[in-house]
């Protein structure tokens, strides 16, 4: 199944991996195809849902974002191997997402809490 590796010694710090990792990867290939199909299906669902009115504009936005987040989650977890990724990467992402949300939230907070009037910009 896997080809013969070039000869490496124990001292080489950059020696290639063992053969059994190749077995792990082959198990995942089917999973990648299934997720790919799911993503395509949910793309069409996204468009279809856009034709449905969920009551208010905010509700429409929330529904669209839930679907988008689900799709993004699949890409991140399966394609980007985040599922089963080392803890350190998750720690990086935690802080990143925290600060990204902070940027959104605090900017929005400033928007909704002016001293007087509104921040509306058009005449």
């Amino acid at each position: 199944m896997s080809e013969h590796h070039p000869a490496v010694t124990a001292e080489t710090p950059n020696a290639p991996h063992d053969h059994d990792h190749a077995h792990d990867v082959s198990k995942h290939v089917k999973g990648y195809l299934i997720v790919g199909a799911l993503l395509l299906v949910f793309t069409f669902i996204t468009v279809a849902l856009a034709y449905v009115d969920f009551g208010s504009h905010t509700a429409n936005v929330v529904v669209a974002m839930i679907v988008a987040t689900f799709k993004a989650g699949l890409v991140a977890a399966i394609f980007m191997h985040l599922k089963g990724e080392k803890r350190l990467i998750w720690q990086f992402l935690f802080f990143t997402v925290f600060f990204a949300i902070g940027l959104f939230f605090l900017t929005w907070l400033h928007w909704i809490d002016p001293i007087f009037g509104t921040h509306h910009t058009h005449h």
């Binding site: 802080f95 940027l103 605090l106 907070l109 400033h110 809490d113 001293i115 007087f116 910009t121 005449h123």
Partner: protein, 589 residues
Amino acid sequence: MIGIQYGITGLLFLFFGFLLMLIMRWQLANPGDPVPVIGGMLQAVFGDSAFSANADGVKGVLTATGYNAFGAMHGTIMVFFGIVPVAFAAFGNFVVPLQIGAPDMTFPKINMASFWVFFISCVIMLASFFVPGGAAKSGWTSYSPLAGVADMGPGFHPFFNGQTLWLVGMVFNITASLLGAVNFIATIIQLRAPGMTWMRLPFFVWTQFVTAWLLLLAFPPLEAAGVMQLMDRAFGTSFFMPTGLIVNGQLAAWSGGGSPILWQHLFWFLAHPEVYVLILPGAGMVAEIIANNTRKPLYGYKALVGAILVLGFLSFIVWAHHMYMTGMGAKVAGFFQTTTIIISIPSVIIITALMLSLWGGSIRFTPPMLFATAWLPMFGIGGLTGIPLAFNAVDLYLHDTYYVIGHFHYVVAPGTIFAIFAGVYYWFPKATGRMMSPFLGHLHFWPSLIMLNGIFFPMFLQGMAGVHRRWYDGGATYEQIIKPVIHWNEFMSVSAFLLAIAQIPFIINFCWSIFKGKKVVNDNPWDATTVEWVAPSPPGHGNFEKPITVYRGPYEYSVPGANKDYTPQTEPPISEKFPTTAPAGVPAH
């Protein structure tokens, strides 16, 4: 090598930014007078928008436009082209791999790319002085809508004008910083030598680590904003251009619908963490030098590490204290005031721990130690004067006055720049194999300390009297209002010129010592414990001659029972009786 490239370029820019400020200070003390001796040459070099002739036809009077351009560029250059390249990139690239026992940074090619992208940004920024209309003049903060409309119309090139070039230069500079930040974090995580655990890292490495995270996560929104402001200027978009804007009496040619406040949010989201980027590497250098020159461990290493981690985290959620005057309501102002006051706590922990580190030490006042010791009260003044500004109510009065300028200059000028000087004197022998002259070091230090206070202390007085920070004539127009404090202008300007003279011993010392300085007797002339002193001076390719193993913490000075007053991190344990630090029950020195 890259460290040295960044270092030389950064130092040259620091010097250039200093020169800009000197010309501004001439104007502030003597509004309307031509700059003596070199006024004509300045007008020839910088053009007629920046300088004009006075009533008698003598050239070299700094115009209001020129003052604004010099002011904006002084800030931009000092922050982004002086301090960050020197304190973070130069010292970081040179010292961090050595201190963790690594052969190089993790991604050498990306490092090289980072320097050359930075270099391009330098060229663009310098070029912006010489295009028609001169350099950017909308403040280092580049607020829209002014920054969106400045440098447009007759007499300006539609793209190659100072304000647009400022944005392009910043985009390159930010990209370079991001590439560098990735490298630093990866290096510190992955390339620590065996035995170099996180809590054995020298404090300087911790500060560089946190600084790199601040750059990595805080810079991109400003890069996005820079692109958007560039679109506003080059493509007529209205990201930040409000509806109904009147320029020169006419409705401006933008569709409107944009928000100037959005620019401020995105700018300060970076620029607040940026100020911690400016101070943290310096604090780290000071810590190293204090430990080395007191011959005892740093007080409260764990507290210091915890403090900078908390500081880094909080620095992302305090930014709107720069925006108290934008009409924010009580909820959001209250939030930012709270986080801003809380962030003063880790700063105080850091400076207290460093001050306590002096207690009971046998202090050697080497040139680096002079600067490091002076850093403590100077940073203290800078930090304490920031506290009133944290409050919305007080900031209402002090915002955009000289008080603010005094506050932040105390932190960066006798603060970070002193730390940089300390670092230069300290690591010079490692980089060159020669010592700098201590005599010239003293000659550099004492006048600098006095003059820096002479420049920046009166600013608090002027600020509290209401002197605005961007008046190009030093307040002469408003003399009636600020009469009691206007005389300080001359005092500050004289101090500035004397400060310039005080740098001459440093320049001579630096340049001369590279070739003729006293050669070091061994690789560790300061008898230091940290790993960089094991490498040859200067280090060759791969930094170390043998692989490094670390056995102990970074500040094992004056260990009881040891045969010398320092125990290097790489020194193996002598026997089972003294495995790492002092034996149980024996207090640290």
